[in-house]
Symmetry: C2
Subunit: 374 residues, 2 copies
């Protein structure tokens, strides 16, 4: 890995007493955000970069915890001294979104009006709501304008939305492996995942906390479905193929093929730490994202108000948010006379590529960010 780790990091917490009016019309009267920062904010406060997380991500983007050194940030290969997002130059912020399950106010948090976890009463949140909340965090940190907002997948949607919601507060947007809106197939996969969770008898209509259980089976299934869409067919073939766990067919519903073992392991692990309500909220935020909707589907028109420069990246074998979807973003930006660079990276790893260390990908981001003035 090129570059060093940011080292030991400590999550911070910010309390917001101003109500957050959500796109759904609901109001969060009070909320907290957990976040981490890496690098130093310069005197001009012009070198801040916001990293937005995707479905299973969090504020813990880079580094590790003193008391848990194996808990390394989800984008540690990307953020650090000498890494593509270089913390010697940039002040980087990672924040757990509202509705999340890693410390920010979410369905697991205590609803002050009832003294119980929000559960099913937690309001729907959208990409736009997250951006709004992130902007308030920036306010409190004294950051008037981000040098860049960066994200992959759902994080990329937030990065795009920044340019539309706060045109004068973001100079560069890096939108990686993302889409301007989900396809019917994308929504279909989300729907099956949600049905898996909601039909789990341990879901209790979203109020499982009070029963001391979690809809573990549903979460496992949701994560297994997710993993299939994160990996390319090629990557799965290379990594697992039809390899049998015991070298021969045993005529059993236990694990026969290595791919089964992998999926069960991933599902089991996920179900131990991720909150089911957060999963539901987040997939709905994905479904709903469609900045062109209020412009009659005209994405170029939606982008008209943006002032940022854009760097759009996609990966050749990503079939969840394929290069075609990124090219829609690029075409709309071009039609809208924005400055945009686009790179389609050859990669075998599918949607997951955006999280992996890939020389061409990382070199391109590094080069782009080298050119960002702070």
């Amino acid at each position: 890995m090129v570059g060093r780790s940011v080292g030991v990091v400590t999550p911070q917490r910010m309390v917001f007493e101003e109500p957050l009016v959500l796109r759904s019309g609901a109001v969060l009267p009070r909320y907290e955000l957990v976040y981490e920062t890496y690098g130093e904010l310069n005197a001009a406060k012009s070198n801040a970069v916001l990293v937005c997380h995707a479905l299973s991500g969090s504020h813990h983007v880079a580094g590790y915890y003193a008391d848990d050194p194996r808990n390394v940030g989800w984008w540690d290969n990307f953020v650090g001294p000498g890494k593509p997002l270089d913390t010697r130059k940039f002040f980087v912020i990672g924040v757990n979104n509202v509705g999340g399950c890693f410390g920010s106010t979410g369905p697991r948090s205590i609803d002050p009006t009832t003294g119980e976890p929000y559960g099913s009463r937690f309001p729907f949140v959208t990409v736009e709501d997250w951006v709004e909340a992130q902007a308030r965090l920036a306010d409190r940190l004294g950051i008037a304008e981000f040098a860049a907002v960066i994200g992959g997948s759902l994080g990329g949607m937030q990065a795009l939305s920044w340019a539309l919601q706060f045109p004068d507060r973001v100079r560069h947007v890096l939108a990686i492996a993302t889409t301007p809106k989900l396809s019917a197939q994308n929504i279909a996969f989300n729907e099956v995942a949600r049905q898996a969770i909601m039909s789990d008898p341990d879901f209790h209509g979203g109020d499982y906390y009070r029963y001391g259980v979690v809809p573990k089976r549903g979460l496992m299934l949701a994560r297994m479905i997710g993993h299939i869409t994160y990996l390319s067919d090629d990557a799965m073939a290379e990594k697992f193929g039809r390899t049998l766990k015991y070298g021969e067919v045993r005529f059993s519903y236990d694990v026969e093929f290595e791919i089964e073992s992998y999926l069960r392991y991933q599902g089991e692990k996920f179900s131990r730490y991720f909150d089911a309500n957060t999963y539901l909220l987040t997939t709905r935020a994905l479904d709903y994202f469609d900045p062109a909707a209020e412009y009659g589907g005209d994405l170029a028109q939606a982008f008209a108000r943006a002032e940022a420069e854009f760097f759009v990246l996609s990966f050749s074998t990503d079939w969840r948010f394929s290069p075609v979807r990124s090219r829609e973003i690029v075409a709309a930006l071009v039609h809208s006379e924005k400055r945009v660079s686009y790179l389609e990276i050859e990669s075998r790893a599918g949607h997951d590529s955006f999280l992996l260390e890939h020389p061409h990908y990382h070199a391109a981001v590094r080069a782009y960010l080298n050119g960002v003035r702070v």
Copy 2:
């Protein structure tokens, strides 16, 4: 639709008292097969065609029942007088496979040794076992040799296997939208579907019959996942896109998008008639099919013993069993010096295309079958 319906049909039943030794080593001491026939067997008994069904299919291939005229066979557009598989020329047989849930001996049947439904004790069945059982049915019907064996998807695997297991009993094989073996991704989707069923508390380890319940939630999820893989991304986009059921976002986990409504409907319907144990058995039969395995993965060598002529068809947007997989079959057949025709049909409908009326597809099958001597 070109051609007419075969009209009213009546399922028949054949009892087999000779034990069927399965590939797993298990033995079915006695079993029954339900089947239907269309057209007339000629005096030379040289015009018989076997149609093999896929995951959710049955013996009811064409026509309708006198007491249930809306229950039309699953391939009624394909089989009948003047249709691509013309019953004026051919004597066509449809049979529900062993392990099925439409009348042939399966997990729902009474195990004579216990007087209770087989349930979890029903043995694993393979494509090869099905072909073996079909051959015994042919014996009893006096059919020494099939003019053709035809199938799509899992049915195509059976058609291919016929040429390998009974080389001198099949003159033509039509293998449609199929694959010589599942990919890791194919197995992964099957595994998620199985986990959905098996983790449903109403599954009771496969012995849900004795509790008077069925693992309905699991079956629904399995079918929803299946449907996503049967349709192409394009077909879903065309058919549903992001169309909202109520014209606007309502911030709800109830149906918001039309695609959700479609999937839930399909899942619900399926869970009312399909047996969960049959689903498990059938997906495992899919997983296990790999005729090249005993030849060190050399498919051409596996085909060496075949004597049939082959017609392989695939559909451009089928991402479940893509044209690439059909080309593997064709390449192996060519290397094995077999006679093979191959056609890749342009179709937007994905894997489901093989069940649909498509002029080019149907014309090609019609032309091929016109050339089959009886």
